[in-house]
């Protein structure tokens, strides 16, 4: 499979929605009961991804091209109330990309919560990652 661009992944998602083995793994649900799918590229930043997640209610299934496949994970984002803790090992750099997050998921596994600074925010937002899988 050649390198996938964003629109290729959108088409890929449309096709895979007919596959029960794929859809049963889309576990993130929005408040309206739907299962949103957000497509991002590895070079997109965490604040950009977080903005899309919050726009659909705070939870989405994120699809990212990954080598010659697609990584999908559930992401729950929310605005934080806590101040920045410089000793927080899960505080991501402001320019952290989705690709770096994927590398971190590979190391940490699922069930982790990371914090990141959204543009213009004074307190970090949080992103909890669940149910990551890689599929073709």
């Amino acid at each position: 499979m050649p390198d996938m661009q964003r629109d290729d992944v959108v088409s890929w998602v449309y096709r895979r929605l007919g596959d029960h083995d794929f859809t049963r793994q889309l576990t993130a649900k929005a408040p309206d009961g739907s299962r949103p799918v957000v497509v991002v590229m590895p070079e997109d930043t965490m604040p950009a991804l977080g903005g899309q997640i919050l726009a659909v209610g705070g939870a989405a299934n994120v699809a990212v091209p990954f080598l010659n496949a697609v990584m999908v994970f559930a992401l729950h984002a929310e605005h934080g109330d806590d101040d920045i803790d410089p000793c927080d090992g899960n505080l991501l750099a402001t320019d952290c990309t989705v690709g770096l997050l994927m590398a971190r998921i590979g190391v940490d596994g699922g069930g982790m919560t990371y914090r990141y600074m959204a543009d213009g925010a004074t307190r970090p937002e949080s992103a909890r990652i669940d149910d990551a899988f890689v599929t073709f």
Binding site: R6, D7, V10, Y14, S34, V39, G51, V56
Partner: protein, 137 residues
């Protein structure tokens, strides 16, 4: 393929499987090409067969964010009829306009799947034109 009634030589109407065989409906919020979910999105509702996971019916609504409100632009569905059809909305009318356009006749569950693929392909290619038409309607 459509089912043909041998005695009458007519096409038998599409009959959905009994409701007892329907799985719970699923809904998805999906992105479109060349944009993000923040501005434009597709709400897709599907009902599948409980045992075969074949598509029984679907409805998708393409909606766009306009002046801080989500507005329906088009709806393509296979519900309440024997074809897959497209309903166009108008920005000023704030309701459906014109007659629905038929995309594909349904004679079987395979046709519903084909209709879904046709609908998504149409949206992928022409959502920007559909939005333009909605804006001026």
């Amino acid at each position: 393929m459509s089912v043909v009634d041998d005695e009458l030589g007519t096409i038998a109407p599409w009959r959905r499987p009994p409701k007892a065989e329907w799985d719970d409906e699923d809904t998805y919020t999906l992105p479109l090409p060349r944009t993000t979910l923040v501005d434009n999105q597709v709400k897709l509702r599907v009902v599948k067969h409980r045992f075969t996971y074949g598509l029984i019916e679907f409805a998708l609504v393409y909606r766009t964010l306009y002046r801080a409100s989500w507005c329906d632009v088009v709806e393509i569905d296979s519900c309440h009829d024997v074809d897959v059809h497209l309903h166009q909305y108008g920005r000023q009318a704030k309701s459906r306009i014109g007659e629905p356009g038929v995309l594909l006749a349904i004679g079987s569950m395979e046709d519903v799947q084909r209709g879904y693929e046709t609908a998504m392909s149409n949206l992928e290619k022409s959502w920007e034109q559909l939005r333009e038409r909605w804006h001026h309607a």
